[in-house]
Amino acid sequence: MAENKAGKQTLVFKKKIVLMEAASIVGPKEGQGPLAQYFDLILADDLLGEKSWEKAEQRIMIDTIRLALGKANLTEDDIEYFLAGDLLNQIITASFSARELQIPFLGIYGACSTIIEGLALGASLIEAGFADRVLTASSSHNCTAERQYRAPTELGVQLTPTAQCTVTGAGVGILSSQGTGPAITHATIGKVIDMGIKDPSDMGTAMAPAAADTLNQHFQDTNRTPNYYDLILTGDLAQIGSDILRELMRKNGTLLGTNYNDSGIMVFDKKQGVNSGGSGCGCIASITCSYVYKKMLAGELKKVLLVGTGALLSTTTYQQKESIPGIAHAIALEYLG
């Protein structure tokens, strides 16, 4: 048995790997939501004077990275590896941001679970002694996601009650082998779970089984229960997916109490007309790198389990009548300092 492993799917980090700095920038709609005060910057519009929304999303990711580096008093040269991903085909936001930053780059994709995948892999690089400082980023943009996955943004389409609204925003985390901050103690790598859901505007239902599978595996591997954590945050099952997750866990004998929440529910207010809630890589990324990080530094949250969930469909698979596979990765953050 590998010495840094617990159970079947969980990585155990024995070194002190800290989230030494985090930053997030979000769009105007997110800035009108309940978590506005926690984001580092709220944008006035989502085009930012660029020629396309794709370029605007790259701008957002790069600016968030520079913001995080500035807060940490670091430059691009101080970062050894850059791990990033986004929702767009060929993860162009991440790749084109890497082009500008000139940091050795590893592109990753886990749909909305990308930031968690990045943090897990980044921590692994540090644990194994390959690096001292790794930067992880993930972003999404409402308009780039709409025009790629669903419909032209000006087409009059009625949303169903299960539909989610892609968040415009980015989250960046800088991991270090030194310094202070919340430490990544465990990472549970998820399996792809597909229960035959075919509707792309019902992603919560498609992803909930993966979240349940990873959560159960995490508790089994670490011998922990939900009560161990001050907050268990999924991202992004939204209202419907999280209701289903509660039921799936309950059926399996585990009750998720008031310490369970979902970033898709938290990011928007119900009055903002977003049906089931928020979605997109930027959802859990921006909330982890603002709300969760700040609450942990303030001592209000000491032990957090972040579970990123991703819907691994493409426009092609949907049109070929394939179902939507889901995946979920979990990382445990603990701040004892």
Binding site: D46, W53, N142, P152, V157, Q158, D199
Partner: protein, 118 residues
């Protein structure tokens, strides 16, 4: 005058409402519903029901997409009856040529001068 407005409201509203019902019961995307609507108009036209509906409902029958199906079928039927097999093909786009040309030109012009707002 007022009767024509009321009839247009009722007939047009009804056609749209039925399309909405089909959309909600079948969970088909809007593009599929639009195709179904046009084909429904074509079938109603073939059965001879659409022209009376236009007399009855005015714009309530000519504004919805079903009217497009009716125009396609009318054109194809008239030419087919007149010259036979090939007429189905020469006639189908005759009645709708104004609508399609207008749509292409106006769509192009509008897309040129505006930008998407998201």
């Amino acid at each position: 005058m007022v009767t024509s407005l009321l009839m247009a409201f009722l007939v047009g509203g009804f056609i749209c409402a039925v399309a909405q019902l089909v959309m909600d019961l079948t969970c088909l995307p809007p593009a599929h519903i639009m195709v179904l609507t046009v084909v429904a108009g074509a079938v109603l036209s073939g059965l001879g029901f659409y022209e009376p509906l236009i007399k009855f409902g005015g714009a309530g029958a000519t504004v919805p997409l079903t009217s497009f199906g009716n125009a396609l079928t009318k054109g194809a039927l008239v030419e087919a009856q007149r010259i036979g097999f090939l007429g189905a093909f020469t006639g189908v786009l005759k009645e709708v040529s104004l609508g399609i040309s207008l749509a292409i030109f106006i769509a192009w012009f509008t897309a040129l001068i505006f930008n998407p707002k998201g």
